[in-house]
Symmetry: D2
Subunit: 235 residues, 4 copies
């Protein structure tokens, strides 16, 4: 069997609409009405800072970002819990045979969980723990993939055969959001040094959050700067 | 006093993202996963028809449309009841002095309501009714605007003075939606000959719906064609 | 004409589901799964405090509150901008003739706005300003109501005749939310001394917020206590 | 190892608010305003039928249903794609060790998929296919559970060890919705003989839909009757 093992997340920004200027534009309709010019507004870092700080969230919604993502099923599972301002289309294990791509934690993925619910910390695994983790992730993939293939070959439906697969299998998804819903995601899913609010994300979804931030930031540089400066809390 | 009276709605598409191709692209990730090409897909009218007919709504969400609208407050009031997939930023009567632009029904606006709740029909007004309607709409505007101006000049806050104004005053708004939420709006707010489901929209919001349809259609010609052919029900 | 003038807001909790215990119950399924007892859990103030502080919002959603509200149209207008976790059914000026009940600011409603956008403060009006405000609110109501009645008597449809009415007219609404969406409303619409985040609500919607808080608090005493202690920010 | 295999879904209605009367009540505020009596309304089957038929959906939102559900992870995965009007709290594989309960298809679960995407039909498996399916579901459970337990015993974090588990493992969830969002779920997830719109749900989520319908129906008998009579399309 020819299986692929991956330890990272693929995030690609495939389309986007809007800019720092469009945030300013949407905000200024509050104060300028029909006299607000549609184009030619200069970006106002001060206004965006004010909107972010005082929780005026709606001006950050008149834009759109579509990402194509490849990540383990257990990451998608958490992601889909974000309901407001997110749209999803995902590869279906009912409609197609999945591909044999599985997650295995990289060497720098902390393996030991310390503390109690709500206040966990994580530390690196010993060499033995790392070996065991790698071995088991590979074994689980190989064993389940073999049965999945055999079930399919014996005429059992894809939607039944896939029950055998582990949550470490990779899936592909289109996800569309606006900047406000993206900030909410980033605030909860990245324990960033500039965060003013505690959060304890799963490392693998944090890896996605890092890449989402990296892809989107260049198109809204001022908004991201003010998000950082105001403690990375969604407005 | 220099008041403006309008009988129509201003709708301008100021930004958009996506196309028929992006609908197909999002749908194909279900069946093709990571092997789905990101660009170069030909539009598949058959696939879009299938998605529309069988209520596969999410592929219609990976796009975005921002409209700048000028309409009477009573139209905005109905519009804001659309919660899912809609973002709004509106001119604020707290933050700015409104402009003296008021709605007056045009001669072709039906004025007489017949029937009972749930099954109303409307017919043209008599000439007397039209004259009375025009006269009252103008009087209400002039009388209230005079008091509004006087209250402001006497130092009464904008957010209190505006209480005097009628719901016929025009306001400006940015509204952003995706194609799925737009179809839901159009299905409910336009008693279109091709609709398979009855609806009894307020004429003035129907006028907005007509313009929204007209502005958006050119960017998603196949999706709108299939929306029409499938009875104008949102997928 | 027999008009009623009101300066306050009517809020009545007509139905509700859930309690502090149900918040604890929903949270404990995360850590106890199918072994979590369905009944007989003691309230854990510590757990609720933890959920509130660390933004674990979903356990506050498994409950429901239905309010019957009577407030001026301009209050409803702001309210409807709350989209997530709110359901509305409102008296329709298309389906029925409205009642002649109008808002007039009470003597303690500040009338003068000082400062600039984003940092307004309000101060009491002079006696002259108060007299003028009262006079204009009454005049706007009487003048518009007279025309509204005359238009109706002359056979002009309710949905057209109502265009003449000012935004100060009272309307009735059923509004249903859960505790998480209620906290979001209260956080934005009440400049409460315990708030850790600045907000500048319209006084009239703040009056509603005070009553919503007062009606709901008794059914979720611990959740409200922790909301207060954590700076009145929605989890 | 002591594993449990299940072929069914557990659904229990743990709390609810509202009734057919409350639907009528919410609808009547549109036409009766503040004069609508709060209690003592008789149920009006005709009104509920009208609301359902003409897509007046909001009166069906002023109620609430909380379910406690135990189902395989792959069922939860689909369920969470319902975003509007649904709240979820689920057992966390990060916060607790999962229980060894796994799904195995019952003898009456169709195993063969015929046709093409969008028009699949399913037929019973042969005896050989059934045996193979049962064997593989059991083997996948035993093999993965053994590694999961071993990883935990060797000090590897729960949130990493769970990557080894298959999507057939059962999880427990609280899910809260209102009648409108429930009807949307039932319309898409149950290929019911009375449905006027085609749908091709996964059999296992259909089994949940059957139980949700069964639990909720007794509390809203008229609404469910009219849902059935109008083709089981959500209003």
């Amino acid at each position: 069997m020819n299986l692929t093992f991956k330890s990272d997340m693929d995030v690609e920004l495939v389309d986007h609409m809007g800019s720092d200027e469009s945030i300013v534009q949407a905000a200024r309709v509050s104060t300028a009405g029909a006299t607000a010019p549609i184009q030619g507004n200069s970006t106002s870092a001060g206004l965006i800072n004010f909107l972010m700080r005082d929780r005026h969230g709606t001006p950050f919604e008149h834009n759109s970002l579509t990402f194509r993502v490849r990540a383990p099923l257990f990451v998608m599972y958490e992601w889909h819990r974000h309901r407001a301002g997110w749209s999803y289309n995902e590869e279906s294990a009912r409609y197609r045979e999945l591909e044999p791509v599985f997650y295995v934690p990289a060497a720098d993925r902390n393996l030991r969980q310390l503390g109690k619910p709500g206040a966990y910390t994580f530390e690196p695994g010993t060499e033995d723990q790392q070996d065991l983790s790698t071995q088991y992730h590979r074994e689980a993939a190989f064993a389940s993939w073999g049965m999945y293939q055999s079930a399919l070959k014996n005429g059992i439906a894809r939607e039944v055969s896939r029950n055998l697969l582990p949550v470490s299998i990779y899936k592909t998804m289109y996800a569309t959001c606006n900047l406000r819903s993206l900030f909410s995601f980033l605030s909860l899913r990245w324990a960033h040094p500039l965060s003013s609010v505690p959060t304890f994300p799963l490392r693998e979804i944090e890896m996605v959050a890092e890449k989402l931030d990296g892809s989107a930031r260049e198109h809204f540089p001022v908004a991201f700067e003010k998000f950082d400066e105001n403690g990375r809390v969604a407005p």
